[in-house]
Symmetry: C2
Subunit: 339 residues, 2 copies
DNA sequence: TTGCTTTGCTCAATCGAGTGAGCAACGACT
DNA sequence: AGTCGTTGCTCACTCGATTGAGCAAAGCAA
């Protein structure tokens, strides 16, 4: 169906090798007459030749493709991350194939297997997280020296290249912003306990309280997953409390959304004007007329740096690939909303 | 590096053909002794054999992969669509590779070329739209009888399988909802003029006005693209108007977001309580305390139906592929918010 | 004329899996 | 003993591109 190299070779009465060399820009190196090269290029364009990446990948063991597995593509944070990664990769002539694990380690593993059998040259993974069996497939990648860069989240005991934000510091700053407003009884609406982002953000939260010598009420520290539903459950749980909190910290945007949705139908006092802090942006937070602090993660930078790290590993010699893990932490930007 | 068929064949002292036949479930058909088959399966599992999709795809000219090109993956509408398509395809043993064109026909074309050279069996495309050169690559696909299903948007003069919602009807219903609230001077905040979604929604809007014998003010019909920035520009433009509108219809969620953001700093009268209607959901619309009607598109159904149509075409014989285009229109669900 | 270099290509193997054709061994039947 | 059918495999080509090795022709020098 499609035009092949041999079609071009045949109709120009040259060998496939010559065509291949011209089309891969090696004409000079192999002293192909510039006249021949020109004819080949012209013919290739005329017939709309498109090389089969399958054949090329099979032969060269490289597809110039990266795999990206995020935990939830419907979260704009990851969508933007994916977009940024794609742009960064494209500049180096690499394509990116994106998959979403839905926070399920089994799906994540299936996706990774799938991508590898498709011959991706390297992987970017925002791991669903966990430990033991849930991350065994990631450990295996590392054993096999398969180029892997973690993004957004890390795995305990798996030293590996990776890029994430300063979660601890950011959470601490968010919490301190609330403390400075006079809050003393702050709740933490967390995500998946297994996720490093959850744990680091919780640590930052606790550190801020400790800094002000405030003992925290364990009933105010909640976890679930990073979903809207989880945010709703958290809010519902807080509404049951005898003594309500006087401020909230949400571990990500979806939790914030769920929480706000649930609180909408709560008694105005004290819930309507409760100061809140959260990671990640959400459309029109500014319209909510609520005291709100947001830690904006630099998605574009995260994506671009992760791709850069991965490409660096790809270029490195196999021996060099065993070198120590290089992890980067990017700064967040704090944004204040509301009255 | 990875385990190959011949590795298994060698260590079991059988031929690669036998291994291939066993692993592809053709053991019965080729009368492979069940003992041999068992040994092969066991060895394959033990060594963690993962077939090379590159080699397989090259040989069989099928990768059991579908390509999906959306116009903006950072829009949750498309993200959900992609997710739904992926789930639907997976059930039939197909994988989906997603790409985002960013509403740029040239990027869209590049993406499609790329996916085809990677050997996808078929394509789902939400076209950036336009006409002439901007859609020539889609027309070419059709000429070549390459399996293609449009999704969300159609192309004028390109009869082609596709799935979208009842845009006209939905826009008309949205507009009528505003008219029933007493609005008489309604503005339409559109998207890309080239997109069929824009045009159909505009038609529905105009039809509703006509139904009430209201002559529309051309100054109230705006277009740009389907972005937040565009929504902001639309709102700014309306703010300049001598006679402000008394209600708004937005062509999609991003325009709605941009518009609301811009209106936040507008004089309360009459902007604060302006009734609005829009396509697509956005988080916590319910919290906005604004009269608001939303046409929710059934993303899951859209994705699932599109995949079903595409797989149907794939199964069809090449001759049957020339059969007339089959387009489906799904119903939207209207949701009311606000006071 | 012989020998060497340079130019400009071609040959053929290779990547990993799929597949039509074929074939040896064995039992059964005439 | 010869023929046939069945069982259980193997052989070798193929997909489309890449690549090391090799080779004919032309140019040039001795």
């Amino acid at each position: 169906m499609a035009v092949r190299m041999s079609d071009i070779a045949d109709s120009l009465r040259v060998s496939r090798s010559t065509v291949s060399r011209v089309l891969s820009g090696q004409a000079q190196k192999f002293r192909i007459a510039s006249d021949t090269a020109e004819r080949i290029l012209k013919e290739a364009t005329r017939r709309g030749y498109r090389p089969s990446q399958l054949a090329r990948g099979l032969r060269t063991a490289s597809t110039r493709t990266l795999g990206l597995v995020v935990s939830d593509i419907s979260n704009p944070f990851f969508a933007n991350l994916a977009w940024a990664a794609e742009q960064a990769a494209e500049q180096q002539g690499f394509a990116v194939v994106v998959g979403s694990s839905g926070e399920d380690p089994a799906r994540e593993q299936a996706y990774i297997e799938n991508l590898r059998s498709r011959g991706v040259d390297g992987l970017l993974v925002a791991p669903a997280g966990g430990s033991g069996a849930a991350v065994a497939h990631l450990a295996k990648l590392k054993d096999e020296r398969f180029p892997l860069v973690l993004i957004d989240r890390f795995i305990d005991g798996l030293p590996c290249d990776g890029v994430a934000v300063e979660n601890r510091k950011a959470a601490r700053m968010l919490t301190e912003a609330l403390l400075n407003r006079g809050a003393r009884r702050i709740a933490f609406l967390g995500g998946r306990e297994e996720a490093s982002t959850h744990r680091e953000r919780l640590e930052g939260f606790l550190a801020a309280l400790k800094g002000k010598r405030i003992k925290h009420d364990p009933a105010l520290v909640l976890h679930g997953d990073f979903s809207v539903a989880s945010g709703q459950r958290h809010a519902a749980q807080l509404l049951e409390l005898g003594t309500p909190p006087d401020a909230l910290v949400c571990a990500n945007n979806k939790i914030l959304i769920g929480c706000l949705e649930r609180l909408a139908s709560a008694p105005a006092e004290p819930w309507a004007a409760l100061p809140m802090a959260s990671f990640d942006e959400v459309p029109f937070l500014s319209l909510l007329r609520r005291p709100l602090v947001i830690a904006r993660q630099p998605e574009r930078q995260l994506g671009a740096r992760a791709v850069a790290l991965l490409l660096e590993r790809l270029k490195a010699s196999p021996e060099a690939r065993a070198k120590s893990a290089h992890t980067e932490r990017l700064e967040v930007e704090l944004k204040e909303f509301g009255i």
